[in-house]
């Protein structure tokens, strides 16, 4: 498969995932007891979309691993800040 086709398929997946996220809301899954399951599903979809964009559109997949580590380092910093700060007030 050529890269252009691959990029196009990824675009389709991104488009569909975004639609599913809103469909989850419209299906009423964010009401009542299913909120946190729906929350998890929506955030996982966002994470998959982000990985697809970073991996293919930003072509991290074809870059040296050190660039990916740079990005992961930044993400780790964010997780440390947000995770610990939020936990500190629970």
């Amino acid at each position: 498969m050529s890269h252009t086709k691959l990029y196009a398929w990824i675009y389709v997946v991104l488009f569909v995932f975004a639609t599913i996220q809103v469909a989850v809301e419209y299906a009423g899954l964010l009401e009542g007891g299913t909120y946190w399951i729906a929350f998890g599903a929506i955030m996982v979809l966002s994470a998959i979309k982000a990985v697809l964009v970073a991996g293919y559109y930003q072509h991290l997949r074809w870059e040296p691993a050190s660039v990916t580590y740079l990005v992961l380092g930044a993400l780790l910093v964010v997780v440390a800040l947000v995770g610990a700060a939020s936990f500190s007030i629970l």
């Binding site: 890269h3 252009t4 990029y7 196009a8 675009y11 991104l14 488009f15 975004a18 639609t19 996220q21 809103v22 989850v24 809301e25 964010l30 909120y35 929350f39 929506i42 955030m43 966002s46 979309k49 982000a50 964009v53 970073a54 559109y57 930003q58 870059e63 040296p64 050190s66 660039v67 740079l70 990005v71 380092g73 930044a74 993400l75 910093v77 964010v78 440390a80 800040l81 947000v82 610990a84 700060a85 939020s86 936990f87 500190s88 007030i89 629970l90």
Partner: protein
């Protein structure tokens, strides 16, 4: 505007130079100016503290002096002083001609200078920031400042400009250190000063991004009227905590200290690097346990991001968190123990020469040991309950921070001969040290004894007067010692003895292999460590070899100059100890101590960095005039101005317009300027061998941007957790639906796909393809902004139920987080669109055919903006 440099005697040179050594000198001189600025404020405070109670100052004036002293010393003196040395010596030590992006380096400096000037201006606007250097909420919002908080807002904006300078600088240094090292110079083998700077810059890249987020939010609270850090205040002026904005003060503390604790090491690491260099030179001994010393530094750099909550033991964080952070805090002292013992053992193993640089480095070690031990007290939760907010803290962190500055003054004496070519007066240097060390301890040690004095208050128990008077005498002695230093350095510059290329025995880094001062392009050839020692290769031979061998590393043929290898140094025990001395000696056609010559290719001059920073200074000065949402009226004021109508706050509007125009025009000028900063044909580039410098620079910037956005999103998550995750919904109107967000998601995803197609088309040399794809990208981006504008206008003008007055920036914390976070994202989209328009125009002129790199770099940015939206959309629209 680019080209060759005038001589150093010309003022023009210093306004347009982009050479790293010139920039280093500018940093050093400017930092010393801010040392005097902050130092005079400290002396005024010490005079006030001669006796308890108000004598010299009123309360507000004292608070301003305390705050400004802290901010100036931490931000505008210590760190930039270290980066003066870093600018000058890191490229020399790693074998580079300059930093990767010389004009960005100049821009960093000018942003730094103008940020400091902006801070200075705030003193003349009624009152500068007076809430302490930690700027705790809610005392950092306009409600608590006089004169409509004009000066306080200017001070916040000055910090914002300063952090911009730091971000630019961090990207530049990291790119340079991973792209410009001499052949075969491994990261682990670079001199310890450069290694300490490398780790410092990594910490800066991430820590300052968190501070940038905090400052942007604070600026928004000042200018746009968001309510992140606001508590509700009653008509009588009392604060109602916990009303509608849970966690406001804690949010600031988290963001600030997430930056603030790494900042301690950001300040101290350059000093540590200098200590290591000076100890090695003046003991004639390689540092003991070098590998472990490096490992300890790496550990501290990592651990620095998991200790910040020990500054928050007295806040409402839970006990589990306090316990964990007490453990991590004790843990971070361990690698420091190793480094301290390595330095001590180096002295024992070597033969010490008590020259002025060594005295300062040794003094710094002693002061740091005291500062470190007293800091461990504060890391223990129970002790911190007692010590927090007292002079124990003041004494402790001055022993650490000024202790670090002590090593840097040692560095000033150490490298002064290299920078100026002249030797300072040794007797006066030692006199400076004696006055400095006695004055320092007389100033700060009594504070441990008078520890019960409340911090940032000029009143104290009368029984502690004697200790405060001792401290005041010490402060003036410390200040007087600097008069000796300034006289010494000034006099020596004009009348000092010629220092020669190597004024010190047993030096071990590459800056000593060139003349004093070094030539403009640093080295007489291409530095290489391929033979195991420093040598210089002829660029023509290297290029020839590359051409002949398909890019393989050149052989050592034709090298003209060679650095000598190993010198025998007598240690104190009489045992010969090997130390690499880079005594350059010419063996061929190119002299090792080359006279100043300029490369045929590299440019060193541009006025645009100065102009960009000056424009930024004017813009922010203008912004400061707007409070509590007035800035949102700027476009309508601008239209009124163009129509000749009455305009409120006209001077501020004019400053903003002139400043923004200057910055934008200068950015365009810089982009159009022909400026060459070529990389050497051979360099050691692990671990980024196959990542070209522009791409590495872009990725490094994006890493910082990830933390910026992460801190913004984190602020939203934190306040939402504080308010109760699902209780949040009552602050959001029914009209705030997911459809506009979904449409914008489609638009951005499609625009990202279009950028990818533009890159593919450029690779295929299809001009029509690139033009079409960029046009689509631009149009979709505009569509995104229009859709957002319509959505915002709708929400602003709601008339429903609880939001009959509209859902605006200041309505509640939910509206504040929504508008500001998505607004920051929109600002990124606007910047992206400007770049996209530029690419489009250049494509129309025939650019990028077969060279898709610029489009790729733009794409990296645009896709990150896309990724951020992929999280903003569910968080702000669905959940």
């Amino acid at each position: 505007m680019s080209g060759h440099l005038p001589p150093k005697s010309s003022v023009k040179r210093w306004l347009q130079t982009t050479n790293h050594k010139d920039i280093g000198v500018l940093y050093l001189v400017t930092a010393l100016f801010f040392l005097v600025f902050g130092g005079v404020l400290a002396l005024l405070m010490r005079l006030q503290l001669w006796t308890p109670g108000p004598t010299l100052f009123g309360g507000l004036a004292y608070n301003q002096a305390v705050t400004a002293h802290g901010l100036l010393m931490v931000f505008w003196f210590i760190s930039p002083f270290g980066f003066g040395f870093a600018n000058y010596f890191v490229p020399l030590q790693i074998g580079a001609k300059d930093l990767s992006f010389p004009r960005l380096n100049a821009l960093s400096y000018w942003l730094y200078l103008f940020s400091g000037l902006l801070f200075g201006v705030s003193f003349f606007q009624g009152s500068t920031f007076a809430g302490g250097w930690t700027m705790y909420a809610p005392l950092n919002v306009p409600t608590f400042f006089p004169n409509e908080a004009l000066g306080a807002t200017t001070a916040v904006l000055a910090l914002l400009l300063f952090v911009t300078s730091i971000t630019v600088s961090s990207v530049n240094f990291l790119t340079s250190m991973y792209r410009e090292r001499a052949e075969d110079l491994r990261m682990r083998d670079i001199p310890l000063f450069s290694l300490s700077i490398n780790l410092t810059v990594w910490m800066m890249l991430f820590a300052f991004a968190a501070l940038l987020a905090a400052l942007v939010i604070l600026t928004s609270d000042h200018l746009l009227g968001t309510t992140y850090f606001n508590f509700q205040v009653t008509d009588s002026g009392s604060i109602l905590s916990g009303t509608g904005n849970e966690g406001a003060s804690m949010l600031w503390s988290h963001l600030f200290w997430f930056f603030g604790h790494p900042e301690v090491y950001i300040v101290f690491f350059p000093a540590l690097g200098i200590m290591a260099e000076v100890f090695q030179t003046f003991t004639g001994r390689r540092i003991v346990g070098r590998k472990w010393f490096i490992l300890a530094m790496v550990l501290v750099a990592l651990q620095s991001f998991v200790v910040w909550m020990h500054h928050m033991f007295l806040t409402g964080i839970n006990l589990e968190t306090k316990t964990v952070f007490m453990a991590t805090t004790i843990g971070i002292s361990l690698p420091f123990d190793l480094m301290v013992f390595a330095l001590i053992y180096t002295m024992i193993k070597g033969k010490v020469r008590f020259k002025t640089p060594f005295l300062f480095a040794l003094g710094a070690l002693i002061l740091f040991i005291i500062g470190g031990i007293t800091g461990v007290f504060l890391g223990a939760v129970v002790l911190d309950y007692q010590f927090r907010g007292t002079y124990w803290v003041v004494a402790h962190f001055h022993y650490v921070m000024v202790g670090g500055a002590t090593a840097m003054f040692g560095g000033l004496y150490y490298w002064y001969p290299k920078i100026t070519g002249k030797m300072y007066n040794e007797t006066l240097g030692k006199l400076h040290f004696a006055g400095y060390f006695v004055g320092f301890n007389l100033l700060y040690f009594p504070m441990f004894i008078a520890w019960e004095t409340p911090r940032r208050v000029f009143d104290y128990s009368a029984g502690m007067t004697i200790w405060h008077q001792m401290a005041t005498v010490g402060g003036f002695l410390l200040a007087a010692s600097f008069l000796v230093m300034f006289y010494n350095l000034f006099k020596s510059y004009f009348h000092g003895e010629e220092a020669g290329d190597q004024p010190w025995k047993y030096v071990s880094s590459a800056e000593w292999a060139v003349s004093s001062p070094p030539p403009l392009d640093n080295f007489p050839g291409l530095p290489s460590y391929a033979s195991g020692k420093l040598s210089f290769k002829d660029p023509k031979d290297v290029e020839g070899a590359h051409a002949g061998h398909g890019g393989a590393t050149a052989a050592d043929g034709g090298a003209a100059a060679e650095a000598s290898a190993t010198a025998e140094a007598e240690t104190s025990t009489g045992t010969p100890s090997k130390i690499r001395a880079v005594t350059a000696r010419a063996t061929g056609g190119v002299p090792a101590t080359a006279h100043e010559h300029e490369s045929d290719h590299a440019d060193h001059a541009s006025y645009w960095p100065l102009m960009i920073a000056f424009g930024g200074f004017l813009t922010l000065l203008g912004f400061a005039g707007y409070q509590g949402g007035e800035l949102l009226g700027l476009p309508s004021h601008l239209i009124a101005l163009l129509q000749g109508g009455s305009v409120p706050k006209l001077p501020y509007l004019l400053l903003t317009v002139v400043g923004a125009t200057t910055t934008m025009g200068s950015l365009v000028g810089m982009t159009r300027e022909s400026f060459a900063a070529p990389e050497d044909a051979i360099s050691e580039r692990w671990p980024f061998e196959n990542v070209e410098k522009m791409k590495l620079g872009m990725w490094t910037f994006l890493a910082s941007d990830i933390v910026l956005f992460g801190a913004f999103i984190g602020s939203y998550l934190f306040t939402r957790v504080a308010n109760g995750w699902q209780d949040w919904h009552h602050m959001i109107p029914e009209a705030h639906v997911s459809l506009p967000g979904l449409i914008n998601t489609y638009l951005l995803l499609t625009s990202s796909f279009a950028v990818v197609l533009a890159m593919v088309a450029a690779r295929r040399e299809s001009k029509r393809g690139v033009v079409a794809a960029l046009f689509v990208t631009f149009t979709l981006g505009i569509g995104f902004l229009v859709n957002k504008g319509l959505e915002w206008a709708h929400l602003f003008n709601l008339h429903e139920g609880a939001f009959a007055g509209g859902w605006e920036f200041s309505t509640n914390i939910a509206s504040s987080t929504f508008y500001l976070t998505t607004g920051l994202h929109a600002a990124h989209v606007i910047i992206g669109l400007i770049v996209c328009a530029w690419l489009f125009a250049r494509t129309m002129g025939g650019a990028y055919m077969g060279d898709e790199k610029p489009i790729e770099y733009f794409g990296l940015y645009w896709h990150l903006v896309d990724i951020v939206w992929l999280f903003l959309f569910p968080l702000f629209y669905i959940l």
